[in-house]
């Protein structure tokens, strides 16, 4: 690697990096659990339940914790959201359940719902029987494409109903972005794989790894061989900035890099730039910026073309970035990346402002920031190519269009998670998977009764 372009491994000692990547929100102590659960008011028609995409009965599970029944609380959570354990760790609760907690109103702080949820799921009693039972085999067989949160949730519900499920997964491991994308410090200790082991204990689910739709199987085959198909392939493409220099070495897709990070045996082996620019304003931007800092990057700047209030990342996440020493450079629009075949040296931006109509416009003022690495975190894109020629219709956002039952324009083909329109959160993917499973089950049972 060229000296000009300061990208190195081992910026920090292994121990230091490991320390940096410890659990961001460590488990609560028994006393914290007591105090936190006591704060829940068991509200009538509680707003937190409505705010949770999977509709977990939060007051009820908290009361169960408070009465010494953590196992029951875990069952309550998992029956609404089989990935309740990872959701407790990765959900931006400050924009979901905790945002609407009525305790905010006069006390300025919500009940620590995520902490309590994690406590409950972590304390499920493994001596007790598996909390879900599989109904008698229906003889129906459903194909699920993608073992991400959407696919797993869908598969689990279908398996509970007695259907046989085969998951076709392109990667070598299950979990989707829970395994390859979520920030390392949110899901420590290989949690995703442990959680999936628990999910699969229901039985009736087979996963075919390294079996990609569009490559190893076609949608037509799946439709012919199964009673229904659920597509949960997420978004495998990324948006481009469309500026000169975008293809130079040193310009990296943030999600790809995080995937390497998540799978690294030794994080100190990862190449880390000294000066890092992150383009984007969402969760991925924050994650790559914070993780770069934790890996030893000296300067990390998130550059965004609008002002702070327009950022997709929540205040809580921005705070996390600031605490980790990340700079924010606002109102600056990517213009050009400067470098050569050996790497990059700086990136140029045009300052933006809102014109009289409130529309964002670029000004002539140029901002130049020196850098060794530019991470693109400007959003992912759905790639429909694996679905082949008779692919379902797309919606306005160029993802698979579905109806209220999560069925696409192709009969018997359902979809959910990031590959359909939505908030692009794990918890929402689970909700889609749940609802699609319910619709599939209903349809398959109707068919059965018709004979």
């Amino acid at each position: 690697m060229s000296l000009n372009h300061d990208i190195q491994t081992n910026r920090l000692l292994d121990e230091t990096i490991n320390d940096n990547f410890v659990d961001m929100a460590p488990p609560m102590s028994e006393k914290q659990v007591l105090v936190a659960s006591e704060r829940c008011l068991f509200c009538y028609d509680a707003p937190c339940i409505t705010a949770c995409p999977t509709g977990i009965d939060i007051p009820l599970f908290i009361r169960k914790i408070n009465t010494g029944n953590a196992h029951g609380a875990a069952k309550e959570i998992l029956s609404a959201n089989i990935l309740g354990g990872s959701c407790a760790r990765v959900c931006p609760t400050e924009t979901l359940c905790e945002e609407v907690c009525v305790r905010n109103t006069s006390e300025g702080a919500p009940v620590d719902i995520s902490g309590l949820q994690r406590y409950a799921v972590d304390h499920i009693d493994t001596q007790m029987p598996y909390p879900f039972t599989r109904k008698a085999e229906t003889g129906k067989h459903v194909a699920v494409v993608g073992a991400g949160p959407a696919g797993l949730a869908c598969a689990h519900r279908l398996a509970c109903e007695g259907h046989q499920v085969t998951i076709y997964e392109a990667a070598a491991k299950p979990g989707g972005l829970n395994e390859y994308g979520i920030a390392q410090y949110k899901l420590v200790d290989d949690y995703t794989q442990k959680e999936i082991e628990f999910v699969l204990q229901i039985g009736g689910i087979e996963i075919k790894y390294q079996t990609a739709l569009g490559k190893d199987v076609t949608l037509t085959q799946l439709r012919n061989d199964h009673d229904a198909v659920f597509i949960g392939i997420g978004m495998s493409d990324v948006n481009n900035m469309g500026i000169p220099g975008e293809d130079l070495p040193g310009v990296i897709d943030a999600v790809d890099y995080i995937s390497d990070l998540r799978q690294a045996d030794k994080m100190s082996d990862l190449p880390v730039g000294r000066r890092v620019i992150v383009i984007g304003a969402g969760m991925t931007a924050i994650d790559i910026a914070v993780q770069s800092k934790k890996l030893g990057a000296e300067q990390v700047s998130i550059v965004y073309r609008r002002d702070i209030s327009a950022m997709g990342a929540s205040g809580h996440e921005r705070e996390l970035a600031l605490q980790n020493g990340v700079n924010f450079e606002l109102n600056a629009q990517p213009h050009e990346i400067i470098g050569d075949d050996n790497g990059i040296t700086s990136m140029q931006f045009k300052r933006t402002k809102n014109d009289d109509n409130g529309k964002l416009v670029a000004t002539d003022e140029v901002l130049s920031i020196e850098c060794d690495v530019v991470f693109k975190a400007i959003g992912q894109k759905y790639d429909g190519s694996p679905l082949g020629d008779d692919a379902p219709d797309l919606c306005k956002r160029r993802r698979i269009a579905v109806d209220d039952n999560f069925q696409s324009s192709l009969a018997g083909v359902y979809a959910g998670g990031d590959c359909i329109d939505g908030k692009d959160l794990v918890v929402e993917a689970v909700d889609h998977g749940n609802k699609a499973a319910a619709a599939i089950h209903l349809k398959l049972s109707l068919h059965t009764t018709k004979g």
Partner: protein, 424 residues
């Protein structure tokens, strides 16, 4: 999943959770909502003779813990303030619509045979599963010669119960007031009168607080207050003790009990049942949290039963009675001491204050070099009273630990220091 269904006096219930006779069971609207929420049964709000009494405004007074947590509250309401026929009609309809749920009709009429003779056939006609005699209301009604006034005189209890058994064919439950000295007396009287069961406790005479600006007890009605009936989790210990007294009394040991008083979650229910109740009734918890609370109660009880390997309520009913005994039978050779877990101690010093000032000076403070304080137990001084553990704000900081002994069981009955000791 454990089976929560149970039978009380031959009446089948889908679970042991009934709503006690009180506002939650005052009318069809509430009762239907309660059944929808999953309650196994209700004891309908107490009916009386027409004209129905009139209630005052400002009815409940509260005793708060820290953070406005309701420890208990009291009320100065009377029995139902709706006409008898309206209640009877609603009971008939709801029972018809909800055949798998229990409806017990609570009754309170004057202490005259005619009154009971008149009302009982009307109640019988509703199809309800049984009656509960409200001898417990501690306010208002006693002044009319009903409720606690009857409940405090065992002979009256026996007499009225006998009338009820005479004029009513289904189970008769006698609800006992706790406002007496020895609850075994009214329970025995109920048994003599032919009662099929007793239920307890009704509310406890109380004044929850005094408004120091107006010098009126709460709840204040136009500047004046009166004692009301106290209920909620604060009364649970009293209720548990009374239930156990009746369960342990050889005379009433076989008399079924419906446990009432401060049941707020599955654990409270399990405790009542372990001490001799066959089912439980709930009022305050429902009034504070709504009917949905029954979901936690049912799930929690069933989860606990699963964990314990109990298949049905009967598996643990009364299980704690053999361990409930008189003081004189307790083992004087048993010893436990406090052990402070330094890792969980937050150094507040409350255990020290409690033990040093009011107990046995068995906790010592050591100033540590780094300026922190270390609290530890002087084993030889500790009598195992539990006070430090009681005051400790941390659930995991102070443990009471058995001190092994090779001495045999020795009770006061046989203790050498007892001048009246029995020789074995």
């Amino acid at each position: 999943m454990a089976d929560l269904s149970c039978e009380f006096l031959g009446i089948k219930s889908i679970n042991p959770f009934w709503l006690a006779s009180a506002p939650p069971t005052d009318k069809a609207y509430n009762v239907v909502r309660a059944f929808e929420a999953g309650w196994g049964g209700v004891v309908w709000k107490t009916l009386g003779e027409d004209p129905a009494p009139i209630n005052v405004s400002s009815r409940y007074g509260v005793h708060y813990g820290q953070n406005r947590q309701v420890m208990g509250f009291n009320n100065i309401e009377l029995i139902t303030d709706r006409p008898l026929q309206v209640n009877l009609d609603e009971i008939t309809q709801v029972k018809k619509d909800w055949p798998d749920r229990v409806i017990i009709v609570s009754l309170m009429v004057p202490c005259e045979e005619e009154s009971w003779k008149n009302i009982l056939p009307l109640v019988e006609a509703t199809g309800a599963d049984g009656i509960e005699l409200n001898f417990g209301c501690p306010h208002g009604m006693p002044e009319r010669g009903m409720g606690a006034a009857v409940g405090q005189v065992p002979d009256y209890i026996e007499m009225v119960t006998r009338w009820c058994k005479q004029y009513y064919s289904k189970p008769v439950i006698v609800k006992l007031t706790p406002n007496i000295t020895d609850v075994r007396m009214p329970a025995q009287a109920a048994l003599r009168g032919g009662a099929d069961a007793v239920s307890l406790i009704n509310t406890i005479n109380s004044i929850t607080s005094v408004n120091l600006d107006t010098m009126s007890p709460e709840p204040s009605v136009d500047g004046k207050g009166t004692h009301g009936g106290y209920c909620g989790s604060a009364v649970k210990p009293i209720a548990l003790s009374m239930v156990s007294e009746i369960a342990r009394d050889p005379i009433t040991a076989k008399l079924p009990i419906s446990g009432i008083g401060g049941v707020s979650n599955w654990r409270d229910a399990a405790e009542f049942i372990s001490l001799g109740a066959t089912n439980v009734q709930v009022c305050t918890a429902a009034m504070l949290y709504g009917f949905k609370i029954v979901t936690e109660m049912c799930d929690g009880l069933s989860d606990w039963m699963d964990k314990q390997g109990h298949k049905s309520i009967n598996d643990f009913a009364g299980a704690a009675i053999p361990n409930t005994t008189d003081w004189k039978h307790l083992n004087m050779n048993y010893n436990r001491i406090a052990v402070i877990d330094q890792d969980n101690c937050i150094e507040c010093g409350r255990c020290f204050a409690a033990c040093e000032d009011t107990s046995h000076q068995a906790i010592k403070i050591t100033e540590v070099a780094d300026g922190t304080r270390k609290f530890s137990v002087i084993d030889e001084e500790c009598v195992g009273c539990n006070l430090c553990q009681v005051t400790c704000p941390e659930p995991e900081a102070i443990a009471m630990v058995d001190v092994p002994t090779d001495k045999p069981h020795l009770s006061w009955l046989h203790h050498p220091s007892n001048p009246y000791r029995e020789t074995p």
